[in-house]
Symmetry: C2
Subunit: 251 residues, 2 copies
């Protein structure tokens, strides 16, 4: 084949490829665990709210309520995810907020839910909560996986009652073993909290982000201290891992 | 075609598509201006330094010198770029720093270059500087594009003398017209500064990031205030645009 012909042939194939690209996620969903998971479709004018504890908070400016603002969103996975979504979808007029607060448990979220969730009227609500519920149980012997389940269930029920069409994202609480705060004594106790989040995601038809499993898998690529400083909070590389997992939850 | 046959046909096409995907960047490089640009190859143990003004600084913690740390890197394009590089290359043991400072011009960089660049011994040095050099000229009638060129040239010469193998990234100074600080009176004066950066990138074999051109093109996708609040500083969407351009400078 002459060079020009070869190039033309390539370009023709390319347009076939482009149409297949659109179809790829569907094809993958037959085999990949990741793509079998429920996905979120973003609509025009959607408001997206990130909720959780310090991992979500990550140094956001607590007194700022500005929309689509890096200082209000902090510098963790919420920023990485929001920046990508805003860049990708200028036509959607998305409004993105972060209301994560350090140390929060499910009971903490329940107390501030009217102001810090319902008042914002989110169309997409993302929640990462649970590691502090387990810490409180482990350290102070207060709470239990059962109380975590009941509280989290109430929170979601309340949200669904207020906004029946809300699109939910529920993330699996995670830790990274072998670092400052996390040793073997966390297991199997912590697994109950992971299981609760997974079951509630199923119950409420939420997109589920399997963070603990993803970080376990990431240990094949780099040691624990590459992904987290203390076992609880993600490093920059860890935040990018999280953000990529979030982005996969969107169509 | 029956459903099963159709599916098989689809899957067969899919494997063709996968091999085309690998070939895509190469094919693009024949035509795309973007991929013709010089690229940076990251090596094991590389230290990467982001230098510049407020756009690079973007709310980093000035008293922290920690490596690969989101608070030390801020929440702008440097964070987005560093997080992605760290996630992508765990095996490379990259060390990433940000030393951008608000309001800086080339003369400011020259003053603090020993401490804030040479002492860090970067293998990869990224510089975005120039918009304040132009502001000083426009507002206070101090400096000129010629002085910007001479100072920037000295800075690069000094860096190359200290580290002959350094890999350089030079970004085009940019503004977004029609917002708070930037009106038509900026042009054509500001273009001289863009041109200087481009020519110095060529002279020093640097990867060049054509930010101003990219933001001009982005106006086809969304209005000016989607990409910047004031015409000088990028929004979250704008920071992602910048970061994607930076990432394209790496092999």
């Amino acid at each position: 084949m002459k060079k020009e012909t070869s190039r033309r042939h390539f370009i023709r194939n390319l347009s076939v490829s482009a149409s297949l690209l659109t179809a790829l996620p569907l094809a993958h969903s037959q085999t990949s665990e990741n793509d079998k998971r429920r996905k979120i479709t973003l609509d025009k004018d959607d408001t997206i709210l990130f909720q959780g504890d310090s991992i979500t908070y990550w140094h956001r400016k607590l007194d700022s309520k500005a929309v689509n603002d890096s200082q209000s969103i902090g510098s963790g996975y919420a920023l990485l995810t929001a920046s990508r979504l805003l860049y990708q979808h200028p036509e959607k007029n998305l409004k993105i907020y972060n209301r994560g607060i350090s140390g929060n448990t499910v009971p903490d979220l329940e107390k501030r839910w009217d102001e810090d969730c319902l008042a914002i009227k989110p169309d997409v609500l993302s929640i990462l909560i649970g590691v502090n519920d387990y810490t409180v149980k482990k350290r102070d012997n207060k709470g239990s996986a059962q109380l975590y389940r009941e509280g989290y269930d109430r929170l979601l029920e309340r949200t669904k009652s207020a906004f029946p069409d809300i699109k939910l994202i529920i993330a699996e609480p995670f830790v990274i073993k072998g670092l400052l705060y996390v040793d073997e004594s966390w297991f199997p106790g912590f697994n109950d909290y992971r299981q609760v989040a997974k079951e509630l995601a199923e119950k409420y038809h939420a997109a589920f982000i399997p963070l603990h499993s993803l970080f376990e898998k990431a240990l094949e690529r780099a040691p624990a201290d590459y992904w987290s400083g203390d076992g609880l909070h993600a490093s920059m590389a860890g935040a990018q891992l999280m953000s990529d997992a979030w982005l996969k939850a969107f169509n």
